[in-house]
Symmetry: D2
Subunit: 354 residues, 4 copies
């Protein structure tokens, strides 16, 4: 334990002006083992970070730097809080210097480069590094993450859907009809990031509710790849994301039809057992109806398992804060694992209520 | 048409202090054929209605009266914007005076009195009147409504679910698996009414999203009864309602599995044809993703039909304003029919955007 | 009156893709004397207006056109719902064809072209037309507006501040210290328009409150010019605008110190008398505390007059919907006057509550 | 310092079901020197605290207890997060057992018992204890607080108004006209607490802005008493509170007229100097426009000083989180002082952004 207390991790952040970037700063600037060494933004070069994000006044003294001037190659780990396509172009050089990489975008999420190309409209820049990278869902890949040099941090929707279905699918279980899974997901607006579009304006999203991407969403490819790997065969998933007029929070309502031979299963027990030792996955008591605010600004993900009327339709409810467990918090959880720290270091935040 | 212009309807409202009551006032006070004759509230007896609802200043001069003092029996029609159980106890007396009744609560929605008793925790007070009443979903029961003396105005959720599934189920069609229908519904907070509960406080609902009633919701009985009637046999429906941090608006995402023999169906055309002559049901172009704000404060209900990936999972999206098409607007639409007026009289409001 | 019913006004709208544009469409498409003839948008040329704004489906059949193709010169009146600087460059040509102009931007609000140049960073393109234009605050300039060919439709903030102070200042009255007036104003986010900026994103404005423009705001020049004209001498005004996390609504809290010789004034009576005949200015009963929602989506402006503790500090509270009385509704009110119609034609909307 | 690390404070909370109560729990359950010993609620006796507030799952194992059963007299300090009037009736007994008291309600805020009686409609139960209590505004009364046995934790509005005016008034300074101060304040809805009233419903407060208490608000008495004490003479203050549709956050816009002889004052420097050593008062750089979200869920209060147009009107902008610095955070700050801990212990939370 003395060793842990002594661990100092030099951290760089590429692209610190978006929501996952500022959330990383909120978490890392109070992390006991982290030294923030550099944060880049080509556009805001020279600007004190706390001028853009006044919540950090007194906690972060860094200024934004251009990637060229920032001492990224002297860091132990670099987080990419950038648009898709940035990390994969800078990975090789950093790895050569011994820097580890955690990408919060999609560059290292999909092993299927054709799916990547289809959904992200660009060829993959480093398939060899990708092949060596690890999908950073801790509850699924803990031991691999501890050894990884490159982490593809999961997408926010996939985190809820995969963790919400995992106990039903893994270990060769035949419990539900895997060809007709449904994920009806709802996200707060910060999930769309800080880029300016009409669709993210207050006057467009407030007092409104809508579906989007019904015809197809990038995260389906990611979920499909992971679920197929868990099951050992392709699955059929209908995924409908919706936009909720709230800043943070994600809610997935998952529907799975129980197979006739599995009707006697105690699903509550199954979920409780699977996640008994997971600090950041909370299987709530039977009958619970989780709310997104119960995880606001915390790294917690909560699950409730329902079977309305006792029939053959299983309903799993999953909540998380899309910017924490769904992005930056999970990224820090990965970092902790990679550097031998207790997984929850720097992540002991109680959700802000109300 | 001259006759129509001459029609004067004397209207009474019982229980005008809730959200459906004030919405009735907004719609009826500008209705060209309506004379507001009385509005009751035992608690607010004597108070000018416009003192409680300043939006009505200059439009409504009435004061609240006790039911005893209000000239309800001299009205042509009385709307009940009351808690469940009020209308059924006053119906007989009013009917005897020739007054027609439109109940916005549940007293005349369920023909199955056992289901009523189970969900509303009270015996039905007048089964004979109930048997004679009509379920006021205009697009389903137009001709019966025109002749009705008592209308059970549909619940808000049922309006979206029934209209969203109707074209798939009626006429003996075998298009989808009716034993595993799913309605994932989302409502603005005004759906819970104006009664004071912790669960309806701003600080509880704002910046939050949650499911509720997963174990069972009153509206399931109503939907089940209507769908069974349409299909001619019981259906299986999983209904999960959610609460959205917005005042008005309701969104239902409906999932139905297409039967193998129906995979060639043109569902877009099916819906368009069914509702071609309906003024208040708008089947949007293929690929549309409706938003609740597109119907805010209007009587419009909009539907979009999707089939993600061209597979066997049909996804129907339905939006309405829960206080208008889902309650008071639909009630006025019923009144127009009952008195021989053009159905849209007084309901030509364009949704408020943004 | 027969003449009025026969009046047909051909209307064009330049720049219909912003919030004041779509609000004009909501109001004008139901206006009994208006024929919508053209709506322009260079960027959206050819797109059906109702595709961009689904709330208009069934009410507006027009497509956007480029200004070159749109029959603006055949209109009776053209509304400019454009950025500042557009109307003044198209005014001369339209006027030559006999088309009247109502500009919802600032081109014809300030007679002081130096102030215009200072705040809007461009020289005025047509000072002669400006000199002939009328400031379109109906309650102040009713008779001039009826004769005007060009209207500068007031800014949203100025509408609340001027109407809130007018009874105190006009007619040579010496009631309050005009050298130290304070307007602490609060606006919903739609006041910033539909242009995309980080500052207007949902995730930036929701669950947040801030002041902006404390060092100086364009509307100060406009208010100053009008108040000076009313008083007959320059006034001193401190104006601090704030941003409220709501879509529509504007609230101004006005502070004026009562002069010693005026302490006996009955301010409530003064305001009531001044606005007794104004359909769209509602002086509420003494002690009232108006809410912005009491005018949501309506052309009403409400005022309450307070004198806390009976001292020498007068507090005037003013609410309006910034997009209606503060913009598009007021513009329609101006149009009605210009074409001899009853002032409230097409503006009989009851505020949407809740 | 070793002593500090060893300090263990046994803490009791009376009335833990409201917003200040759950906020105390969020802060105290992670406080390194605190042992939560008891939390009372007569109504929720026996219920696990984390059942009511799921954000505390895994952090707080306590159940609510009745006041009779709770070991309050064995605590080192008891926080009262109760309605006004509770603490003063339990104070004597607890003090006799050596328990210190921090009251988050108004029982120990006003030394003027007549003012207390006027505003809170009850006689004071223990004027002798009141006389001995300390007004817990740390930046004003630090040394007295360290010695206090009973703390009256300041109201949320007074915290912003007093700290925003303090540098102008203390030390016998003659800088502004103290007879005509104005505080135009705006609060998030959580300031009204968790009690159920129509006025706190989501559908009443969302998408709305209003003033309230214009005729007089309890907090005026508290502000008046403190300012008079600072100045050494009565002051004249006009205070207008407003309600903002957000959960947390408070913003006060303060107006003070600069005296002719003080026009040369460097007010920015004055404020910076006054608060240079205060960890939780942040005087922002000249020209700053603070936002409430910059302090969301943190104990920070930020101030910006403006002088629009360089004239004689000073405008001071103050933001805080009403539940932290305006209530529970400030209470913990007081506790730290009372027990000899570094003032910021357990209060190092970075504001949640976005």
């Amino acid at each position: 334990m003395a060793a842990v207390a002594d661990t100092r991790i030099k951290v760089g952040i590429v692209g610190g002006t978006g929501y996952t970037g500022v959330e990383l700063l909120r978490l890392l600037s109070l992390h006991p083992n982290v030294e923030l060494a550099a944060i880049t933004s080509r556009k805001e070069d020279g600007l004190p970070v706390a001028s853009m994000f006044p919540n950090l006044r007194g906690y972060v003294d860094l200024c934004f730097q251009t990637p060229e001037n920032a001492p990224l190659d002297q860091c132990d780990v670099v987080f990419f809080a950038t648009p898709h396509g940035v990390a994969m172009n800078q990975a090789r050089e950093l790895l050569a210097k011994g820097v580890r990489i955690i990408d919060l975008a999609a560059d290292f999420r999909l092993q299927d480069t054709k799916a990547f190309e289809k959904w992200y409209k660009m060829p993959h820049a480093c398939p060899d590094i990708l092949a060596d990278s690890v999908y950073g869902l801790v509850e699924l890949n803990r031991s691999k993450i501890a050894q990884a040099r490159v982490i593809g941090n999961p997408g926010c929707y996939p985190t809820t859907v995969i963790l919400g279905l995992l106990p039903l699918l893994e270990g060769g279980r035949k419990l539900v009809d895997t060809s007709h899974l449904i994920a009806d997901s709802k996200s707060g607006v910060s999930g769309a990031g800080r880029k300016v579009t009409v669709g993210s304006l207050f006057s467009e999203d407030s007092d409104n509710f809508k579906a989007y991407g019904v015809g197809g969403h990038r995260h389906v490819a990611e979920i499909d790849e992971q679920l197929a790997k868990i099951v050992g065969a392709p699955v059929g998933l209908t995924f409908v994301p919706h936009l909720v007029p709230m800043i943070r929070g994600m809610f997935s309502t998952l529907y799975a039809r129980i197979l006739p031979e599995a009707l006697d299963t105690d699903f509550q027990a199954l979920f409780e057992k699977r996640y008994a030792n997971e600090a950041f996955v909370d299987v709530m008591p039977a009958g619970s109806q989780p709310e997104t605010r119960s995880v606001r600004a915390s790294n917690q993900l909560r699950i409730a398992v329902h079977r309305p009327g006792g029939g053959d339709q299983l309903v799993v409810l999953v909540v998380q804060d899309n910017l924490v467990k769904g992005a930056s918090g999970q990224a820090v959880q990965n970092m902790n694992l990679m550097f031998g720290l207790p997984e929850g270091t720097g992540l002991q935040h109680i959700a802000v209520f109300p």
